[in-house]
Amino acid sequence: MLWTFADFLSASGIDVVETWYGEELSEEAQLLFDNILKDNQKTEDHRNWVGYRGFPKGEAKKYRIWEIGFKADDRQYRVFCIFGGNRKQVILLLGCYHKGRIYTPADAIDTAIRYVKALNNREATIHERPICIDF
């Protein structure tokens, strides 16, 4: 059974991850992100995933938020994730980039926590992110 990935969908229906993907990432970064998900969906233990970075320090850990990281466009990108309610399901909360200890946008962790709370309170939903197989 493969892992599945779902994007956080705000109450107003905005797919935050897809917006970040489309507006912030270069074409190469998009391809890289696609490939990371494609490769990782086949790896049983998420801790063995390429790009898996575990829990960031601070309050995010309390909410079981963890990170996938990759480098593209001379930036260290981070995608905040949590596990979904279904087996082998990951919810992608938002993407940002990271330098030193600074996330950009600066409130990225707070926003991710807010999204988790919204999901817990059923004020937001998710929708499955297709993993593209090129051929």
Binding site: S26, E27, E28, A29, Q30, L31, L32, D34, N35, I36, K38, D39, K42, T43, E44, D45, R47, N48, V50, G51, G69, F70, K71, A72, Q76, P130, C132, I133, D134, F135
Partner: protein
């Protein structure tokens, strides 16, 4: 870029896009292979760094998608430290994609040089074909070799150790699942 025909058109028309496309594939597949073997052996990042005469931070970067600008020499050092060979080969796009689609970190299993009976004792009977085909990364190579026309070896003026079919692949191998993961992260 999720539409297949648009993807193909762009790949055909733009060299720069082909570069990005290939780089994005290898930026995941290479770290994934290195990480899989390191965890399987098992080795910590500092241990692999020690073997390869690199800092742990460099190993960490190599295992992170897109983080390390890997050149062939770095790959050679990685392969040598992991006790496996290295094949860098120009292939058709279709073959690269088949490799990617078939690759799975969990299924990626290679014998270390000292366990590689096809290399050490090429005259001994090899492992059965199912075992050969169970090895990710070898599948494509097996298919390609099988499709090549048979060539009379006398046509060659050099001799070559028969490295294929590979053997000794799966007898004592354990999956990554069996490892004490926390220790090797």
């Amino acid at each position: 870029m999720k539409d297949r025909s648009a993807l193909i058109s762009k790949l055909i028309s733009s060299r720069k896009f082909r570069e990005s496309y290939i780089r994005a594939k290898l930026s995941v597949l290479i770290p994934s292979q290195i990480r899989a073997l390191r965890l399987k052996w098992p080795m910590t990042q500092p241990e692999l760094g020690h073997e390869a005469e690199m800092k742990q931070s460099r190993i960490s970067a190599i295992e992170r998608p897109g983080s390390a600008n890997l050149n062939v020499d770095t790959l050679i050092r990685m392969a040598a430290a992991l006790r496996v060979g290295l094949k860098v080969e120009l292939v058709p796009f279709s073959e690269m994609l088949r490799w990617e689609n078939n690759f799975s970190q969990d299924q990626f299993k290679l014998p270390k040089i000292e366990e590689d009976t096809a290399f050490i004792s090429p005259d001994e009977p090899t492992a059965d074909e199912d075992n050969v085909h169970s090895r990710q990364g070898a599948v494509v190579y097996a298919v390609v070799r099988a499709k090549q026309p048979q060539v009379d070896p006398k046509q060659f003026t050099f001799t070559q150790t028969p490295l294929w079919p590979a053997a000794g692949l799966a007898e004592s191998e354990q999956g990554i699942e069996g490892l004490p993961r926390q220790q090797y992260r």
